[in-house]
Amino acid sequence: MKHINKNQIKQDRWQTRTSGGNLVDKLQAYRDLHAHALFSSLGRLIASPFASVMTIVVLSVAISLASGFYILVANLQQLTGNLEASNQISLFLRDEVSNAKAHSLADSIRQNQGVQEVKLITKEQALEEFQAYSGFGEAVKALEKNPLPFVIQVLPKNSLENKQAIEALLENLKQETEVDFAQMDMQWVARLQSIMDVARRGVRSLSLLLGVGVLFITGNTIRLELHNRHDEVVIAKLVGATDGFIRRPFLYSGFWMGFFSGVAAWFIVTTTMLILKQPVEKLSGLYDGAFHILFLGFTETLALLAISSVLGMAGSWMVLHFQLQKLKPE
């Protein structure tokens, strides 16, 4: 007993020296650990450039596909955004309809209760407009006779609220003998807009799919790294490392891979847009010239980098969570 007590006192002396370090030191040590993990994982990426570049290229292709489609849809939307859905009805009259008949038809439609406004576009006006805006001015001049019909544009009353009434009006107008062809403008705008909706949704699902791909590619890369550093992980576990400690450098590896892939994807998308810029603007110049190509903006770039970094970290976390549970020292 006496012997033990003596030893106990020695033990206490040995132990009192262990409980050193105040809060400031601990916080500093914690910060140092993170800084070390951040830079050592970057160093490890650089130390094996070929493997890192391969992974980052694969990841950045996936990310740039998603962001490229996103910006493509944003551009198309810009193109169609100016077109507001209106319920205007266009009546194309038969070729043989005379000027007087066209005017009298326009007048009679104007009497209709459901009609707010009627505008008659004569053959001559239509031709002028076509020559000015279509880009086929010279070709039209070569024609012997004006191929364009009279058009009556009808704007229904309370157009948006009463869809059935408009449909009825359209049916009525179609019955007129002078009318060759009646068309509600809203239909094609609505169709275009639903096509855009489909495209937007498609891009969203595609992005989700590519995001999952990024998650698993990073996960697999981290799994390989974990495998390569198996001994180190086992030794760290044996000397009392928590899973959090072991995870940290791998999470930072995932972060760097995601981040660099994001940067590379930004370059891929921006370069592609730059290549497209000139022909698109030339094309746009042939029409009204109102269209300017959209690039990834500041917020979008930040979001791109943030999402790819988070995906990288999430991918490695996912793998570490399962692998570290399985891993037993020795």
């Binding site: 033990q11 040995w14 370090g21 044996l238 000397v239």
Partner: protein, 234 residues
């Protein structure tokens, strides 16, 4: 706030550093590896664990840092029941036990300094504290001045001393060594054993698994002998 020293000592002496209570270990493929093993080690005690190959020495040692959990009975480390320890508590249990291996288990791509510093980095010590303690620990095992060397450039005896420095750098109350001299010649082995005695003298509980009978008989310490999983002498 200071507790009277005597009371402190008394309260601690009641709890053994390590207590095995009817511990059995069964692997489904192998069968019983340990059978009803009971013993305890007081604080600051040094003991050898011996027995033929496959007697269960390594298995017994694995139960203490919870590398394995026993099938029956209980293991208490400093009063804590290891069977009931949650997985997230295990790292903190391991910090109480300095482990030494036959194959040293050093990181070959890290310097001696970094190897020894690992437990302190893990425990979250500051840079200066780590540096001071690693030096003190290397001084203890006689390797001061070799901090910047890589393990491969050292002899077997030196590598094992790096392993020992790493095990004690965090000043754990207990040291476990599994065949620490298995790869060393008798002279080096005696040196290593002498080191362990020095740690015991400052109050560390030491348990060494070895089948080196000649070494054990030279030293006057308690011997726990395992035979086919049963403790036949303690």
């Amino acid at each position: 706030m200071q507790r009277p020293l005597l009371m402190h000592c008394l309260s601690k002496t009641k709890i053994a550093m390590l207590k095995f209570d009817n511990v059995s270990m069964r692997y489904p493929e192998v069968g019983d590896v340990l059978r009803n093993v009971s013993f305890h080690l007081q604080h600051g005690e040094m003991a050898f664990l011996t027995g033929h190959s496959g007697a269960g020495k390594s298995t017994l040692l694995k139960l203490i840092p919870v590398i394995e959990r026993c099938s029956r009975g209980q293991v208490l480390l400093d009063g804590q029941n290891l069977n009931k320890a949650r997985n997230r508590q295990i790292p903190y249990i391991r910090r109480k036990v300095g482990l030494i291996f036959q194959d040293y288990k050093l990181l070959q791509d890290r310097t001696v300094f970094d190897n020894v510093a690992l437990p302190l980095v893990i425990a979250g010590y500051g840079h200066n504290e780590i540096s001071r303690r690693v030096r003190a620990s290397l001084d203890k095992v006689g390797l001061l001045g070799k901090e910047k060397k890589y393990p491969v450039t050292l002899s077997g005896g030196e590598q094992q001393r790096v392993g020992i420095a790493r095990a004690v750098v965090n000043k754990p109350p207990m040291i476990l060594a599994d065949e620490p001299t298995g790869n060393l010649d008798p002279e080096l082995s005696a040196e290593i054993m002498h080191l362990f005695e020095q740690f015991q003298q400052v109050g560390v509980t030491v348990l060494i698994a070895t089948h080196d009978i000649s070494l054990i008989t030279q030293m006057n310490h308690r011997v726990l002998k395992l035979d086919h999983g049963q403790l036949i002498a303690s």
